[in-house]
Symmetry: C2
Subunit: 501 residues, 2 copies
């Protein structure tokens, strides 16, 4: 079926190679893509080939890459594989690129996902030379039907000097009507309230706009999203999900949450999926989600009629989830809405709606500081993503992790985290397979007792208690957050040296 | 002049001692007060005397104390002095209480100031037994003219089971009309957009409401606010202010800020005052402020006609500033508006208005993490206050500090901060008397170079560079944020041990 029905834009059809030729060394390139959905499938590879050839000729060729969030091997992986990236923002989870970042070969600017679009508008990252955006169709009037993610596409299309579109036939044409692109954003002092009061409310347009004069190429593709499979929840994830759902039940009973809860946000991953599975068999009805990514667990809840609606910025389905969605996309219309990430993650909206935020973590310390990004203080894992947008502004937030990693060589509860992404002021509930620690309204000392008792693995509890006891004894007039400065990061140092904390 | 003209409430007149008798051991007490303004002047002392007498009889008597922010020796100091506090939130700067917290004798729950009211409403802190709120007058219809701060007063008056009012004749009766108390707040899922789009816009009532049935006592006082004097800006503060104002000028020139800037927020203290003094002699006109506290520097700008309007939650004037204000309060009406702190600090509004946030810090590390609260990792200084509300949501944020403390024994730029309150994701510009480091869009490694070159004191630069070089060499595949885990907090450990970093 014809997907490019705009007579003006139809004349810009090009091959991926022709399109990639518009991208020059040193350019800042804004590409679509969020959690392996909606990224361009062809131009990045063609760009990588161009870069590789330039390097073979001894020429410098690197670009700065801005996206929505993570993409896929065909994008981040391909460009990293040819040493084509000088700078990357606002998020990455590609293993090849991660290695380059940690080898010090790519500058990575890890950014709150709600900040990325506005900081580009503010001019904090400099000019954007080219946008490369995947869409599902180009309509006769030149409007664009967005693809399986919206991310920062609106901003890249508006800010870039040149635009390359990829029209992906693999994406369902039925996507038309699944999106809500807010065009009321402005720069201060001209900003106005965002008039959104429930998850499914439309405040924008179903289409992305583009200035036809800027469109230098349109490439047609037919290629699937990354669609990583999920492992079925293991016993540990199920236990964490059970603790979390029980806690929500308790909060409803105490009158601190409505019976249908408040809009759910859950990070990407197996624990998040397990929580959704836990909600599937719960008594909660008419739930909603106001989140970043639609994973299989949310689809299950929609299919079961437990969830009324999901607002997000991207799909993040498994191959099986994709099959289920594609079998009948129309049945989800009006129940799924994809928005720009500046809206899906907006502090104003997260706080107003009173989101329940559930995010993974790498480690937490005994005082409730959370590390979401760094391994042993220095190596980046992925990035902060939307966790800060949601956690800080949530009604209630949870950070979840197994209590152990690397077969017990690592405790995810430590004396002091080796990097802080969520401060003690922003962390309410910690969950491991050992238990749940409700930290609301507690002082640091009380938090320490509760976190060690409830969340730390028994193999590490005595050492954590010993640390606290010795820290308390060491400086009698420094009891607010007792620490032994020589030892606070000692567990991490041990691991780096000996492979065990 | 009669200040209590409500016939119903006039019958509740009582002495401070009679009023304090309504407060029982174990009670949670919400008192007015923000930055030494608008706190109750008489009941806290009477309560302290009651507690002291109970202790002399061998009885337990402590309360939990909730306020807007810091208060004064007559409140925090008096209650701390008799060991009368079990728990304190959301902020404190009283030296006596600070000592007790750091001795481990009071549980201190240091909280974002924009979170405190809503978390009380969410029920996260438990019930509020008594509110003790200073006002300027009680009107015939029972409405209350607020005093020199609004803080959390609306919430305490609504949440508390019993209310004690203090009517302070020292506060100008002309305060009527200086306040805007937003009564549109609700709990999720019933929240609606806050329709504020400029600093002076009224969205609420000039009065606080109280259920007359809950008012158990009204005490009349005639006592000044704390009104700490400011030191005149020293050379270092002036230098930082100069750097900051030059940077704003540069941003205007680059088209990244409007000519009249964006609404200013500045933390409390001498550097903030110096910045305001720097703006006084600048070319900027028609500025506005959307901030927490009105300090002398803002009054100067108002008096000079450089500043059109100030929205805040509290006054924080010096004795001289108070004299100037009291000489002609009416002349400031329509140019000063005091709001609840959930509004003055609201993420929704700070982000919408695009606030320029200027806050002090204790230390920053080479990667741009900022410590605003802890001395050497363990002792609390004051608290995070509103710095997180403003910095995270600002258009542009600055953290300022001298590069040295304790006669050079401490560097405020360190390898790793001993406590994180503002993460690398939230910090844009650092300023010391040595220079200004613009960190926007930089990776951690680039930040390190810039912070060391521009902000660190020359006496510490080589050691910082040496740290980075050795950290880079130590773990070749951990180059995103190079650290030596055994040494990262070594400077702080040195200081604790030897009195020098």
């Amino acid at each position: 079926m014809e997907r490019i029905t705009c007579p003006v834009l139809a004349t810009r059809r090009a091959t991926a190679e022709e399109a990639a030729a518009h991208i020059r060394p040193g350019n800042a390139v804004g590409m679509s893509g969020f959690t392996g959905a909606g990224y361009p499938k062809a131009v990045p590879g063609a760009l990588a080939a161009r870069i590789d050839a330039a390097h073979a000729r001894g020429e410098d060729f690197q670009v700065s890459l801005w996206t929505g969030a993570s993409t896929a091997p065909e994008l981040d992986g391909a460009l990293a594989g040819v040493d084509g990236l000088a700078k990357r923002l606002p998020y990455n989870s590609d293993p090849t690129l991660r290695r380059l970042i940690n080898d010090g070969k790519v500058d990575y600017v890890d950014t709150h996902l709600s900040h990325s679009a506005q900081q580009a508008w503010f001019g904090f990252y400099g000019d954007l030379d080219v946008a490369v955006v995947e869409v599902a169709a180009v309509l006769p009037n030149g409007l664009l039907v967005p693809s399986s993610s919206v991310g920062n596409n609106k901003t890249w299309l508006e800010r870039a000097n040149k635009v390359i579109l990829e029209v992906n036939h693999w994406q369902p044409r039925e996507f038309e009507g699944f999106h809500d692109v807010y065009y009321g954003a402005a720069l201060p002092p001209h900003r106005i309230p965002i008039q959104l009061t429930h998850a499914m409310q439309r405040i924008g347009d179903p289409y992305l706009r583009v200035d036809p004069a800027k469109v230098v190429a349109i490439v047609e593709t037919d290629a699937p999203d990354r669609n990583a499979p999920f492992d079925p929840p293991d016993a540990s994830s199920q236990r964490m999900a059970g603790l979390l759902v029980d806690f929500l039940r308790h909060e409803v009973k105490q009158g601190r949450l409505p019976a249908s809860l408040l809009p759910l946000q859950s990070g990407v991953g197996n624990v998040a999926n397990a929580v959704m599975e836990g909600l599937l068999t719960s008594e909660f009805e008419e739930m909603t989600a106001f989140t970043e990514v639609i994973q299989d667990g949310l689809l299950d809840l929609l299919d079961a009629g437990k969830l009324s609606a999901v607002s997000a910025t991207s799909f993040g389905l498994s191959p099986d989830g994709v099959r289920r969605f594609l079998a009948n996309p129309g049945s989800y219309k009006g129940r799924i809405l994809l928005r720009s990430q500046e809206i899906s993650n907006h502090p104003e909206l997260v706080r107003r709606l009173g989101v329940i935020a559930i995010n993974g973590m790498i480690e937490a310390d005994i005082y409730g500081n959370v590390n979401s990004t760094h391994i042993m203080g220095s190596s980046i894992m992925n990035g902060i993503g939307g966790s800060g947008d949601f956690a800080r502004n949530a009604y209630l937030n949870f950070f979840v992790s197994d209590s152990l990693a690397k077969d017990g060589a690592i405790s995810s509860i430590v004396p002091m985290v080796s990097h802080v992404d969520h401060t003690e002021h922003d962390v309410q509930v910690l969950v491991t397979e050992q238990g749940l620690a409700d930290l609301r309204g507690l002082s640091p000392s009380d938090r320490a007792t509760r976190i060690i008792d409830r969340c730390a693995h028994p193999d590490y509890r005595d050492r954590l208690r010993d640390y606290v006891a010795r820290a308390r004894a060491a400086r009698p007039h420094a009891q607010h957050t007792p620490h032994l400065l020589d030892e606070a990061l000692g567990w991490h140092a041990n691991y780096v040296r000996d492979g065990r904390m």
